[in-house]
């Protein structure tokens, strides 16, 4: 479970995230939506401990993520935007390294399971830098899953993938429904419709909406909230 309360973040004079509060329940897949520059990545970076909030509170699986950042991070699997990886390493070697860093007790077993879950078992011996983007994305997901965390945070996980890869990736994420709390940042509306139970729209750093994902016309809702103008209206 992720609990966020009155979260704010300043960069100098600019308020990137302004008083955002929300909850992601266990087993729920929540879409985190917003135009580019709305504050999505900044919010996720605060949830994962990469950035400190200027003010506000975060609880990850019941742990205060501001006061006990390391303990909170143990409960998280995070796939940052662009999926940064050590490109010179082999897939298996990288996952073993990450498992050791995350203090996973049985590394060999955890690596096999994560490779299987993310669908990269056939590429375990390949060098990451030589993989296609879709496969690298899966390695990123395998890394996020390595410690079998109760919470997954995925930042634009399908950007740059071809339609087949997008579909495969969505199926993978859908499989976590009912098992993990998943927060999925994206600006692709069809992705939210396809995989999420609920969606949170963030606009200019503020939470603009918290709705069920099943909407008659999600695009219209999004445009109206983020521009203040109805899609079919002048």
């Amino acid at each position: 479970m992720i609990e966020v309360e009155a979260l704010s973040r300043r960069y100098g004079n600019r308020l990137a995230v302004d008083d955002v509060s929300f909850i992601v329940n266990p087993g729920e897949i929540v879409g985190f939506l917003g135009p580019n520059g709305a504050g999505k990545t900044t919010t996720l970076r605060m949830l994962t401990g990469y950035l400190s909030p200027t003010s506000g509170g975060i609880r990850i699986h019941g742990i205060d993520a501001v006061a006990s950042s390391i303990r909170a991070r143990e409960q998280l699997g995070y796939m940052p935007e662009g999926v940064p990886l050590y490109r010179e390493m082999r897939v298996q070697e990288y996952l073993r390294h990450r498992a050791a860093l995350k203090k996973v007790p049985n590394v060999g077993e955890a690596v096999d399971r994560a490779l299987e879950q993310a669908g990269v078992a056939d590429s375990r011996k390949r060098i990451i830098g030589q993989l296609s983007k879709g496969y690298r994305q899966r390695v990123g997901l395998a890394e996020a899953l390595i410690a079998d965390p109760p919470i997954l945070i995925l930042d634009e996980p399908t950007s740059g993938l071809d339609p087949n890869q997008v579909r495969q990736f969505r199926q993978l994420v859908q499989g976590f429904g009912g098992k993990k709390a998943v927060l999925l940042s994206t600006h692709i509306l069809s992705e939210v419709e396809a995989v999420c139970d609920r969606l949170i729209i963030i606009h200019e750093g503020r939470k603009a909406a918290d709705l069920p994902a099943a909407q008659d016309d999600l695009e219209e809702v999004f445009v109206e909230i983020t521009t203040g103008v109805g899609k079919n209206k002048p």
Binding site: P80, L85, Y86, H97, K103
Partner: protein, 247 residues
Amino acid sequence: MKSAWVVMKRELASFFVSPLAYVVLTSWLVWNGVVFWVLTEFYARNAVSSGAASPLSAFFGGSVLFFIPLLVFVPILAMRLIAGEKQSGTIETLMTAPVSETSVILGKYGASLVMWCVLWLPTVVYAWIMSQHGSVDWGATASSYFGVFCLGAYFMAVGLLMSTLASTQIIAAVLSFVALGVLFTVGIGEFVFDGAAREVCAYVSMWGHMQSFSKGVVDTRYLVFDLSVAVLAVGLSIGALKARRHG
């Protein structure tokens, strides 16, 4: 501490599969091979006329030829430590794993010390060559290597700090080069100034440091200086990495 070990292992594994490692190691050995050859030739042709008593003690800091490559290679070896993670974006996965900044910095620093030792290890063969053709003062040789290690502990800590502060590897390399170059030059002030200024310059002098160790004199003043700079720079690196979360 286990996390520091995990970070260190990965750093070394990545370094030794990179072309950079082999370019640096090869260039380093070519350079030192030439230096060692020129110094032995010099001693073979001239009766001992310089301050250094043997080609080996001249090799270990007896000439500027010892310092020039260090001022270049240390920044190159250290630049990737943290700045490389920033440039590739992997800093985000690293710092969102359940590891402390202290573990990350200590792991990186440990890796840099291993790199430093790997750089120097092949030069042991020079001492062996000397021992085949004359006598070698093994005590002085051991203290030379000890001095080299202490100097490395200080140089690498400075390189690590610059790599933590800089946003890209090339900026990190330039900053380390300038920092070490300035420290080296200030040390030369030992031969320029008088009085208190001379004392201060002598204290930071890399030249004086290595000349003392290469003669077999383990001067604790230099050890205290090396250790102080290393601890300070590593501590500042931890602080800088922590400050990043608030930046």
